[in-house]
């Protein structure tokens, strides 16, 4: 009379750990941008190529995780948060590595290099994007404890706090973006116009990384404030 114990089937796998894992990979991808631009700026294309491949690898890892999570989130799963909120959160998260891939791909494809006088601010800007993304990851890593405490007040407050820090970092990132753009504006007439066009686009995309991180934070707010 020994069958499959009922309680093995009753409890579904929590999607939280995989979602955190996905965000971890996303953060790791963003982390490659700094070294990548350092290599690009110093003209070390071999190292840049190596990092580019690493970024591609991480991005596809994130994609795999994403589809795995989607496949394992059936409608019959009863969760303390709405399924569509979770899926949207995942989609927002997935935009981050995608954007990093776009940036690296464009730079690699056009063998772009930033004017020397922009170097430091640009790296600071990239670093700030990484920090912003880091806050999103930090908030997301609290999600499992939030589930464990049944969405009680204390854990919610902590996540609110982390998300406001995330917003703060994103604002600073915006300011840096303005700074980088105005620097480029000052020297743009000395550069090849098509190149300038794409430089602006790269700056915009780096800003997107922080923007998407902030969106992840916003989505988390939906999830906890239900």
């Amino acid at each position: 009379m020994v069958g499959n114990p009922l309680f093995n089937q009753l409890f579904g796998r929590s999607p939280i750990t995989p979602i955190q894992k996905h965000m971890n990979v996303a953060y790791e991808t963003v982390g490659q941008l700094g070294p990548y631009f350092e290599a690009v700026n110093s003209g070390d294309w071999e190292q840049a190529k190596h990092l580019y491949e690493l970024i591609l690898e991480l991005e596809s890892k994130a994609d795999d995780l994403k589809s795995h999570i989607r496949l394992n989130l059936p409608r019959s799963l009863f969760m303390p948060v709405s399924r569509s909120d979770l899926l949207e959160l995942l989609q927002m998260q997935d935009r981050i590595p995608n954007r990093v891939k776009d940036i690296a791909g464009l730079v690699m494809g056009r063998k772009m290099s930033f004017p020397e006088q922009m170097g430091d601010v640009l790296l600071e800007f990239i670093d700030k994007s990484k920090i912003t993304c880091g806050f999103a990851l930090k908030a997301l890593n609290e999600l499992d404890e939030l589930f464990e405490t049944g969405f009680s007040g204390k854990e919610v407050d902590l996540i609110h706090h982390l998300i406001s820090e995330l917003d703060e970092a994103e604002h600073e990132n915006d300011r840096l973006q303005v700074k980088v753009r105005s620097q480029l504006f000052e020297i743009e007439k000395d550069l090849y116009p098509v190149e300038v066009m794409f430089l602006y686009r790269v700056i915009e995309w780096i800003g997107d990384v922080a923007d998407h991180s902030q969106t992840v934070g916003n989505r988390m707010m939906y999830i906890i404030s239900r």
């Binding site: 009379m1 089937q9 409890f11 799963l77 303390p80 404890e145 009680s152």
Partner: protein
Amino acid sequence: MEVISNYGTILLILAIAFGVFMAWGVGANDVANAMGTSVGAKAITIKQAIVIAMVFEFAGAYLAGGEVTSTIRKGILDPSIMSDSPELLVYGMMAALLAAGTWLLVASAFGWPVSTTHSIVGAIVGFAAVGIGVEAVQWKAVGSIVSSWVVSPVMAGTLSFVVYMSVKRFIFSAEDPFMAAKRYVPVYMFLMGYVVGMVTLLKGLKHVGLDLSIEESMFYALGVAAVITVIGVVVLSRVKRVTRSEQHDLISVEKVFGVLMLFTACAMAFAHGSNDVANAIGPLAAVNGIVESGGLVGQKSATPNWILLLGGIGIVTGLAMYGYRVMKTIGTHITELTPSSGFAAELAAATTVVISSGYSLPVSTTHTLVGGVLGVGLARGISALNLRVVATIFVSWVVTLPVGAVLAVIFFYLLKAIFGTG
């Protein structure tokens, strides 16, 4: 009457064999479900679970199992209709045991979550309605049993919802959750001890020579609850905070709940023993009553102690032989259940089942526990529940009754053909 005097001993021995086999099956499979939440939440080890189950299943069966046993034995059928042909009742009860046992065997092989309670009740109603006559069934009693199958999961769910909400409110939202847990966990222990003690004292102890009034029961239950709480406080005082520089030490809090779950696991095993042992030994008690009295149906005597003992032994043997394997599967699979949410489900289920036992209602422990788990889920306490399994449970709930009935009818006519009437 001739059949009883000619074959009485053989029939009784067969009934004992079927009954013990059924109890063995309950122990092998059903107990694992009752204890699964504790093992799954990693609050207790498999070995601890087996020991707890052995002790408290037995205690539950022996101390509080009498009420439900008498329902299975004489609450579903109208014995007066069968006083002319007592052998039919004997065949029927044996057929019911065989039918429920067979169906459980088949269902377990396919992994369907069927309930022993539903099988046995379906089987008894089936053989009586078809083999003897529709008027032999006490439909009013059957109605209240069936409605208790709806009420018990709902009640457990409501209770676990309230309990888990209180955990969130008083412990997880506290400034220092660890201290709050230490302060409030004994309260849950007290409440649980009180309810279980109260029902057992009031309803269960007549056959061991204790007949208490409501007031006396209430008083002694307070004592029982106090003793349990004191033991709990002593054990809790040994739980130390995990000194890690986390701003919120959830691990320590869950350790406190782990201690509580040790207690709810005991209550769960007790509740299960008090209710589910009846499925196996109720029919046996009926057969015994007829054979012993030489063919008289509808004796008012209580279920003899040796039968309760036999049921307890059967459960424990099944548990010892197969329970380990089943629990191991459970223990290695569930990781999503925390002690804080698991205890709420168990506390609610155990309380509901013990109360049902007190009201002589045979309910399904497993279904009640599922109700408790869903209640915690509604309070946002469990990260993912598979609702399809709940649907499967509901379907097997509905299917089990006619299947048990049909099988019982087949076995009934088979036994009738073998031993004859008269």
